[in-house]
Amino acid sequence: MSGFFKSSIGRKVAMALSAFFLMFFLIIHLAVNITSLFSENLFNELSHFMGTNPLVQLVLQPVLIFGVVFHFVMGFILELKNKKAQGVAYARNNGAANSTWMSRNMIYSGLVILAFLVVHFADFWVHEINVKYINVQPEDPSRYYHELVEKFLPMWRVTAYVVAFILLGLHLAHGFTSAFQSMGSTAGRKATLQKLGKVYSIVIPLGFIVIALFHHFNH
């Protein structure tokens, strides 16, 4: 079994498994955030639950951080190994003739998402850790909505979020079906998975974009 994950196919499978986990997380994240569009109270309740529940905080959060770090580190390792496998570069290479831009540039869309995550962690996660564990503030279950709204007031941040989510959409447009292919998905499911992948890669980023724009223009 350990030999499997050292093989090229094993590394692909590990990449796909971490991708599945992150794609599932995105659905949960969007489901919580979308409530901020129509109910301040519900958003606060859900955020408070996520921010204080021991299972979420002590088990799921570390697993999520591990999943994110693993996906990026493994992505870089695979990219370096693939670069090494290439040898001399072609003088003329017509990549667009046989593959999509998204599929050829996963490392670049991934890097933009990584840069976004640095900003995102600084915006929300570092703040959470600070008020909960370092400069401990009195518990206020209604603070989350206002913190969210405040973050989306500056235009530069909204623009950065929109750009990052467009890149996330492009990353997912290839990554969704690619993860299933790596897991050995059968030929019969290909068309359905491609349709699902298209829907997922549009709905998830669009949902986050709508949230950012909504709060920017309504407050």
């Binding site: 079994m1 030999g3 499997f4 093989s7 090229s8 196919i9 094993g10 590394r11 692909k12 499978v13 695979l78 190994k81 693939n82 090494k84 496998a85 290439q86 040898g87 001399v88 570069a89 072609y90 003088a91 003329r92 290479n93 017509n94 990549g95 003739a97 046989n98 593959s99 999509t100 599929s103 050829r104 996963m106 290839h174 079906t177 690619s178 292919q181 790596s182 897991m183 050995g184 998905s185 059968t186 030929a187 290909k190």
Partner: protein, 246 residues
Amino acid sequence: MNLTLKIWRQKDSNVRGQMVEYKVTDISEHMSFLEMMDVLNEQLVNAGDEPVAFDHDCREGICGMCSMYINGEAHGPDRGVTTCQLHMRMFNDGDTITIEPFRAAAFPVIKDLVVDRTAFERIQQAGGYISVNTSGNTQDANAIPISKHAADEAMDAATCIGCGACVATCKNSSAMLFVGAKVSQYALLPQGQIEAADRVRNMVAQMDLEGFGNCTNTGACEIECPKGISLDNIARMNRELMKASF
């Protein structure tokens, strides 16, 4: 038609190569790409120059020897053909055509457009076969019932001619379409079941050892493959390896 050719020239594997420009004239649109190369080489020989070395054998699209990267695509701009079956009607008078060897660290250039593809042979030797008793008591293969669907899929996988276009076109120089096809053609048939686990483990291990890259499912190999080998074979190989490992 009159053409300008930019061709990779490299004396041997120890020296650096470079692109060199040539002119060819009066090329018929009915010629194959290799016949056009023959015209160039005759021209070079007559001028006392070294002809361009390139791989070729059957010139019927079935041996898998020809291997050029033409205008940025393995086997050129046509689909479902090898370089020998690529015709000059795909180009226009006055065109500049870039011709390079298949590139991959695992396919080192031997000379000009000739690359060493013996890595594929070593992968085949690692498990791309079935062991059959040939002492005289061999069972007739046709006595084993096989569904039409499985037989067709196995045959489709077996049409891989091992030319290496999949590796050449892959941005990661991955050999997974080739290995996937070779694993699949046996995995789909009852005769291949006995050695299935060892086969996929050994062939994938040899593929990794040869220094091929990791597949990122761009699908470029499937498009450029002259035999239309499907990406489904890579998925099947992944399943076979998971089955063999857990």
